[in-house]
């Protein structure tokens, strides 16, 4: 089975029976690659925690219904903040389940990441009996260690998009207060006295690598640990880097994704002063990608995790390939520090399509970055039109952020889960709040509601702040 065959649709019975005599897992037609040792990369597990659902399935179903996950943030409203809404996760069950992590590390994104990976690992377990399989089948309370059986054998790694954590604003104030003077901060006193306000766990948990390290420890995983911090592009790039490792044969499995919790005062005010956030609209109407009334993005929180491995390995151990990852492009577009350029995302979409070796006409859906800022939406639209030409009008495009806000370092991960669910179910979720298109946004943004369509190749775009972009191409297995 080659990528060419996959792209031509000759994949109706992919399964163990088709393995015999076939060169499964080796790409004999691999886009621009002549190296026939490259592996076909399959996604065998997905998990997500979003403002509209505590699992990938629940989130996708809610998105297909066009549900809103943007809510008022009462403490911000009460404090008179100019920003009063966000894609908040108010799931007490989730925090109760992971109370130990929530309390010890004071990190919401750690809770989200653990929950999302737990779901992904359960899905990736496969059917082939393993050492602890009988235990797991009979014991609903399987330990996190046993759930990770699919990622126990071989060389592996965790690649996550995460940003540096922020300290709780009240704690931050207390830290500064004891070493501050009317003239400003006494840095010497700050160094000597202020750190007592953070526990060692809290201090460590703010480091980007903490989240993947925590996941490794929690689920008993051993291998490379990577934290990529490229703002809005972080998770997409983590997926891409993990994909490269598995495709090259350097790793037998990888856990890729991202987690973030951007709903803190410092980030909200900072982005507000940059003019990037939506203001002055009711919560359920505040995120309006591609709409003439778009005013900016809405901060959100959540996590998405994927288990990826060579297709050959997945089939051998009886795991279901949910989708393939076939291409990845990343790049920096030299512009201005707060600017989004269409050339940058054009470059990464082009690279992903080229790596997958598919024709532009074979792209059936684009999950747009679609933030809802007057700068992003026209630039991304223009890039799609430039790359796809006349075919651009035939490609459905939708924005997940219209329902859950912008999850920054986790955005690409949740949107990857959405792309995979879209491929699995042949369903594209709508873009919420799109009433009247922006004059510069003239593509098919799936405004009317969820749409059924068989999807062969799907692009997921991420445009990072300050011009760091990436695109991942997902494919039907």
């Amino acid at each position: 089975m080659t990528h060419k065959e996959i792209n031509e649709g000759n994949y109706p019975n992919v399964g163990r029976d088709t393995l015999e005599g076939a060169n499964i897992g080796r790409m004999s037609n691999r886009g621009r690659f002549s190296d026939n040792t490259r592996q076909i990369v399959a996604v065998t597990g997905i998990g997500a925690v979003t403002p509209v659902g505590a699992t990938s399935a629940a989130s996708f179903e809610a998105m297909c219904r066009g549900e809103n996950g943007i809510r008022d943030i009462p403490k911000w409203k009460d404090a008179g903040f100019p920003i009063t809404v966000g894609g908040a996760i108010n799931n007490n069950d989730l925090f109760d389940r992971e109370r130990e992590i929530a309390d010890a590390f004071q990190s919401r994104k750690a809770v989200f990441a653990v929950a999302a990976l737990d779901e992904a690992l359960k899905m990736a377990r496969g059917k082939t009996p393993t050492r602890k399989d009988s235990d797991m089948n009979e014991n609903a309370n399987a330990t996190p260690d046993s759930r990770a059986e699919a990622c126990r054998e071989g060389r592996g790694g965790i690649f996550m998009g995460v940003e540096t954590g922020r300290i709780d604003i009240q704690k931050l104030f207390d830290m500064f207060r004891i070493s501050g003077t009317r003239k400003g901060l006494d840095l010497k006193a700050f160094g000597e006295k202020s750190f007592q306000y953070l526990t060692p766990f809290e201090a460590v948990s703010k480091q980007p690598y903490f989240i993947p390290s925590l996941l490794a420890r929690r689920f008993g995983l051993r291998g490379e640990i990577r934290a990529i911090s490229n703002a809005c592009s972080s998770a997409n790039q983590a997926i891409g880097e993990g994909f490269r490792k598995v495709a090259s044969g350097a790793l037998d499995w990888a856990i890729v994704g991202g987690a973030d919790d951007m709903l803190d005062e410092y980030m909200a005010i900072g982005f507000h002063l940059l003019g990037a956030l939506s203001t002055g609209l009711p919560a359920d109407a505040s995120s309006r990608p591609f709409d003439a009334g778009h005013r900016g993005f809405v901060l959100g929180e959540g996590a998405g995790m994927l288990v990826i491995e060579p297709l050959e390995r997945a089939l051998e151990r009886g795991a279901e390939p949910l989708a393939l990852i076939a291409g990845y492009g990343s790049g920096a577009s030299a512009g201005k520090i707060t600017e989004t350029s269409w050339e940058g995302i054009h470059q990464t979409m082009s690279a992903a399509v080229s790596e997958a070796g598919v024709a532009l006409e074979d792209i059936d859906y684009i999950n747009a970055h679609g933030t809802g800022t007057p700068m992003n939406d026209p630039a991304e639209t223009l890039a799609i039109k430039h790359l796809f030409g006349d075919h651009a009008a035939n490609i459905p495009v939708s924005s997940t952020k219209s329902m859950i806000g912008h999850l920054i370092a986790a955005a690409g991960a949740v949107e990857a889960v959405v792309c995979i669910e879209s491929i699995r179910h042949g369903m594209i979720h709508p873009t919420r709040n799109l009433v009247r298109k922006d004059a510069a946004c003239d593509l098919d943004y799936v405004a009317e509601g969820a749409r059924r369509k068989i999807l062969r190749n799907v692009l997921s775009n991420s445009l990072g702040f300050a011009g760091i972009n990436s695109t991942v191409l997902f494919q039907r297995p």
């Binding site: 500064f176 690598y209 690279a351 760091i468």
Partner: protein
């Protein structure tokens, strides 16, 4: 495929004025910069001066940085609602501008890389890897992957260690790092390219790059990097070698039992994200004849990173002219308390 490299090391910034006078930056730009970003930019700028033919659109650039920056004084003033020119608190609404738009941008660690793209025209495959020693390894590994999967023709790795951050200082204060190594401000950039023995390229090679979980024995590490590099690196091997270590965990067993090592961090301090790229850069200056250099780094939270640097196959140097590796490192690092500039 073999990866050859040349490198550039950048001394610490003496003062912010050093770079504020650079003509590449406008006053508006400067609001977004911090010491880490400035050092990363200047190091990469220096390296590119020696790479006039580099295709900046097709070369990957992967950066290794520490945690995102914040301006503690600005944060304090915002939290306490005390404007810079006043001693009296103001209302919350009046305090908002104190944080400045740059505050949010500065919290996102990708901005150092963005400046490389904006000011130096680097637009290829890219990534920012944030952390401590792990970040340097990740950036190198990603750059190598970008070349090997043909996403880029060449690659730059820019790594910077900057202790000017309360998370970093806090880590040292709490003893997460070796008490014998103070954090050091240093930048290093590597230019990697795919090469072969027929190319005439006489630059040193990176012939192995590997990560190991904590507790891996020295023998296992040497076994694996020996297989990767095809250089016998074991203690009883006939071939000569030099081991460069950064013993951030002095109690870690991996440090014991290795003779003839050059303790890099003991001489220049803990170089955190820059540790592995820096060790490779130094090793590139120590490899002569058939003498490979193995680098083993034990990071604060347990992972072990290793690399092997070998000379170019065509390079032939009279062994009598070899400087002793240890004195070479001492020489470099003594100059490197202030870290001399471009070494290549």
């Amino acid at each position: 495929m073999s990866i050859s490299f040349h490198s550039c090391i950048r001394r610490p910034l003496k003062a912010m004025d050093d770079w504020r006078s650079w003509p590449d930056f406008t006053p508006k730009d400067l609001k977004f910069l911090d010491r880490q970003t400035a050092l990363l930019y200047l190091t990469t700028h220096d390296l590119l001066a020696n790479c006039p033919d580099l295709d900046r659109a097709r070369s990957a650039v992967h950066a290794a940085v520490g945690p995102a920056r914040t301006d503690p004084d600005a944060m304090y003033r915002w939290a306490a609602r005390i404007p810079p020119d006043s001693a009296e608190p103001v209302t919350q609404a009046q305090s908002l501008p104190m944080i400045q738009p740059a505050g949010a941008i500065g919290l996102l660690p990708n901005t150092p890389l963005s400046w490389l793209s904006i000011k130096l025209g680097l637009t290829g495959d890219c990534g920012v890897w944030a952390g401590f020693e792990d970040a340097g390894f990740a950036a190198l590994s990603a750059a190598r992957d970008a070349i090997s999967c043909e996403a880029a023709s060449q690659a730059l790795v820019a790594a910077v260690s900057s202790p000017d951050n309360y998370f970093v200082l806090d880590g040292f204060k709490r003893g997460f790092h070796s008490p014998i190594c103070a954090p050091v401000e240093i930048g290093v950039a590597l230019h990697l390219r795919c090469t072969n023995s027929a190319s005439g390229d006489v630059s040193p090679r990176i012939n192995a790059l590997a990560a190991f979980p904590s507790g891996t024995s020295v023998e296992t590490v040497l076994d694996i990097i020996t297989k990767q590099s095809l250089c016998d690196l074991h203690e009883n091997s006939a071939s000569q070698k030099t081991l460069l270590l950064t013993p951030l965990n002095p109690q870690n067993a991996i440090i014991d039992g290795i003779d003839g090592r050059a303790d890099l961090s003991g001489r220049i301090g803990a170089s955190m994200p820059a540790a592995l790229p820096l060790a490779i850069s130094f090793a590139g200056q120590c490899v002569f004849g058939k003498n490979p250099v193995a680098i083993i780094i034990a990071a604060p939270f347990g992972s072990i990173y290793a690399a092997v640097v070998t000379p170019a196959p065509l390079l032939s140097v009279d062994p009598k002219s070899w400087p002793a590796p240890l004195s070479m490192v001492s020489e470099v690092t003594s100059a490197n308390a202030s870290c001399s500039g471009n070494k290549q």
